[in-house]
Point group: C2
C-alpha cells in the first residue's frame, strides 16, 4: 500500500510517523483544558471528540468519544473501528470536501500534553521472545537448560499490575525492595541497584471474550498496539521470584507510548512467526501471519548528556504473536476484557546489539556497554530511556510515538512522606 | 464485647451469623429488580440505598450507595465507614426510635439473590500459610527443601486475575488446559483432571495508596474481609508455572462469599501471628495483633449426595497477616486501589484434617479422602464445595455467609459454542 495523501501537508512527508495511513488514537489536553480523545495526523492531533459531538463523526447511537479514554470505542467492536477509520480517511484525505469542517479542530502536537490513551483493565506480561528467554536462561541456568521445557509449547506469561501502567513522559522513581545476594546471610531492604528496562510491544484488547477463543478470534479482538517498557528491578526479582514468579520487581511502573496504533494501520506489515521447532497443539496454531515487521530501538540519555542508541531489533523476532498469547490466555475460560493490556515479552534479536534489556546487553553486568560519557550495566539515576518503533511502508512510515521515562533517585526513606 | 441486641429478633440468636455486631455489606436484588447495596441483619437485608436516598443515612455530600457495589463507600475512607456502622447500630439497636422508619426496608434474605459486593480492581494471591507451603513444598521438593529460602522473609505473592472473581453460587466450569506429565513426551490439551480448591480469606482494600505504606497504614486501608476459594487446576499449574508462576491454572474462577465483613466487626477477634522463626525486616514488622480468630471449614457435597466436612482450620494459622501482605505489595511503589482483593493464601493447620486443599488432603492424590458415597483425590463433576467461616464472640457469632460453587463438567469442545 502506498502513502495515502492528506490535505494536512506535514502528514505526507515520507518519514513522518503520522501519515493518513496511521491515524493512531490518543488522549490529549491543551494547557488548562481537560483531557480528550484525539487522532494524530501529521504535526497535529484531530479533536475527534468535538467532531462526534457536532455529528461529523457518527459512530453509534450514544456518544463513544465523550470520555478521556478510548475504551468505549474499543468495546464497540471492529465494525465501529472500521467505520471510524474510513470516515477519518474521507475527512482528512487530499481533496476532501470536509476540510473546512475539520480544519478548525486540528491542534498542533507541539501545544498539547498526552495522557494514557485507555483505561488499563488488567495487564499481563509474556515471555515470548526466544532470544531473550535463551539469553536469560543461559545466564541463570546455563546454556544447556536455557529454555524451560514448556517454552516451545505455550506462550509463558504471568499477570502484572495494571495500576502501575503509566504514559510516556511520566518519571519513574527507583524502587526500594527486599534483596539478598548469594553472599549475604540475610536479606536487606534497600533501593534497587539493578534497575532495568524491557523493550516490548503491548497489545490492547478491544472486545471482550467469554470462554476460550481461537487464535483467529483473538486476533480480531485486538484493537491496536503500543510500545511498552516493563521496568524491572533485577535484584528484587532474583530474590522474590521463586516459586510464584515476578511480583514487586515489576510493579513500580510499566510505561506505554501515548498512541494506540490500530491493527488496521499495521495490516500491510504482517509477517509470520519463525518456523516452529516443535509443532504447536492445534488450539495455538496460527491461521496466517500474526506478527508485524516493526523496527524497534532503545535510546539511553544520561542526565545532561547525549543519547546513545543501545539496542536495535524488530518485533518479527518474537516466537509467539499477541493473538497466540491472547488465545492461550482464554484456554482456562478466563474472561478477557476491553482495555486488557498484553506485553509481548522482551524483544531481543540474535545479535548482541539487538538485545532488549540491559540485563542482556551487559550480560548480567559483566560486560558494561558504552554510553555518552561513560558506561552502563544497569540504569543510573537521571537516565532517560526511550523506546521507538517504526514500520517502513512504500513511501511512508507508521510511527508509534516515543515511549520514554526518566529514572529519579530512590527516596531517602520511603516511609517518610515529603 | 457481648451481643449487641437488635429489635430484629432473629439477629439476637446466639448462633446467627448476622447479629448487630456484624453488619456485613453486600449487594442484593429482589426478583425482577436491579441489584442494590444492602447490609445483613438477622434473617433480613436492610436496603441501605433507599435509606441514603431518603436522608436517613447521610454519609457524604454526594450519594455513595446509589450504585450496585460498595466501592464508593470503601473509597470514602475510615471516617465514613465508622459513621455508617455507628448510624446503623443506632437505627437497628434494641429500642431504636428509628425502627418505624427502617422496618419497611428490611427484605427477607430468603427472597433475594446476592451479587458481587464490590468491583474487583485487581486481585493478588499470596502464599502465606506455613503449613500449606510446607505441605506443598514437601510434596514437590522433599521435606528438606520444603520452604523456599525467601519464604520466612517476605510474604510471597503473585498477581491473579480480577476478571474471573465470581460471587458464591456461581457455577464453575471445569477448565481445559495444556498439561504434560513426566511420563508423556509431548503435552496434551484436555480438561483438567486435578481440579482443586484453595481455602483462603480475602482482604478488600478500601482506600488507595501512593507509595510504600507501613503495616499499620496498610491495616487501616483494609475495609473488610470475605471468604475466598481460589480454584486451582493442579495439572495445568504443574506444567505452566516455571519460571514465571501460576497463570491459566488459577484463571478459571475465584469465588468469594457475598458479604464483606468489615474490619470493625472483626476487631474483638484480633490475634497475633505465630512467633517469627527469623526476625522480619523493620518494614514488615507488625505494631500489634493483625490476624483474626476465624474458624473455617470446607464441605464437599457430591451431586445428589450429602455434605462431608473435609477440612476444619482457622485463619490464625497464617504466618503473615493481610496488613503485612498489603505493606509488602507497596514496597516497590506499586499503587494500590479501592477494590483490590488480596487472597491470604491457602489456610492449612498443623493436622491432616486442617488442610485447606484437596492436593494436601489427599497428599497429591496418593491418599484419597472419604466423602459421602465414595472418595476423592480431586474434585469430580457435580461436586459442590462450600467454605464457611465464623468468629465465636461472647454470646454471639460473626458469620461470613457461605462461599460455594458447584463444578460443571468441562465443555466437550471448548471452541464449539453451544
Amino acid at each position: 500500500m502506498p502513502l495515502l495523501r492528506s490535505w494536512v501537508d506535514s502528514a505526507n512527508a515520507p518519514d513522518h510517523p503520522f501519515p493518513l495511513n496511521n491515524l493512531p488514537c490518543g488522549v490529549f489536553s491543551r494547557p488548562g483544558d481537560e483531557p480528550r480523545c484525539g487522532v494524530a495526523i501529521g504535526d497535529f492531533v484531530l479533536d475527534v471528540a468535538v467532531l462526534e459531538d457536532s455529528g461529523v463523526l457518527n459512530l453509534a447511537d450514544a456518544p463513544l468519544l465523550d470520555v478521556p479514554f478510548w475504551n468505549e470505542v474499543m468495546e464497540a467492536g471492529p465494525q465501529v473501528w472500521a467505520a471510524l477509520r474510513s470516515r477519518l480517511m474521507e475527512l482528512l484525505g487530499e481533496g476532501s470536501v470536509g476540510r473546512a469542517t475539520v480544519e478548525p479542530h486540528l491542534v498542533p502536537l507541539a501545544e498539547v500534553a498526552l495522557h494514557m490513551p485507555f483505561l488499563v483493565s488488567e495487564y499481563t506480561d509474556f515471555y515470548a521472545g526466544r532470544h531473550h528467554a535463551t539469553n536469560v536462561g543461559t545466564m541463570f541456568r546455563g546454556a544447556d537448560n536455557a529454555l524451560p521445557p514448556n517454552w516451545l509449547h505455550i506462550p509463558i506469561g504471568y499477570n502484572g499490575r495494571a495500576s502501575s501502567v503509566v504514559v510516556s513522559g511520566t518519571p519513574v522513581r527507583r524502587p526500594w525492595g527486599q534483596v539478598k545476594g548469594p553472599e549475604q546471610a540475610v536479606p536487606a531492604f534497600q533501593p534497587s541497584r539493578r534497575f532495568d528496562i524491557e523493550l516490548e510491544l503491548g497489545a490492547v484488547v478491544g472486545t471482550p471474550s467469554d470462554g476460550p477463543v481461537t487464535v483467529a478470534e483473538a486476533d480480531a479482538m485486538i484493537f491496536g498496539y503500543v510500545l511498552l517498557n516493563d521496568w524491572s528491578a533485577r535484584d528484587i526479582q532474583a530474590w522474590e521470584y521463586q516459586p510464584l514468579g515476578p511480583f514487586q520487581a515489576k510493579a513500580t511502573a510499566t510505561t506505554i507510548s501515548p498512541w494506540i496504533v490500530t491493527r488496521a494501520a499495521l495490516e500491510p506489515f504482517r509477517c509470520s512467526t519463525p518456523p516452529r521447532e516443535v509443532p504447536l497443539l492445534p488450539h495455538l496454531q496460527e491461521p496466517g501471519p500474526m506478527l508485524y515487521d516493526i523496527a524497534l530501538e532503545v535510546g539511553l540519555t544520561p542526565e545532561g548528556g547525549r543519547e546513545t542508541v543501545i539496542a536495535r531489533t524488530n518485533y518479527r523476532e518474537m516466537y509467539y504473536s499477541a493473538a497466540q498469547q491472547l488465545a492461550h490466555h482464554t484456554t482456562s475460560g478466563c474472561p478477557m476484557n476491553t482495555g486488557d493490556l498484553l506485553g509481548s515479552g522482551t524483544i531481543s534479536g540474535a545479535t548482541k546489539e539487538a538485545r532488549g534489556s540491559l540485563l542482556e546487553l551487559s550480560w548480567g553486568g559483566k560486560e558494561p556497554i558504552a554510553v555518552d560519557g561513560g558506561s552502563r550495566s544497569f540504569i543510573e539515576d537521571g537516565d532517560t530511556l526511550e523506546l521507538r518503533g517504526t514500520c517502513q511502508g512504500d513511501g511512508y512510515v507508521i510511527g508509534f510515538g516515543a515511549c520514554s521515562g526518566r529514572v529519579l533517585p530512590a527516596l531517602p526513606d520511603p516511609y517518610r512522606r515529603p
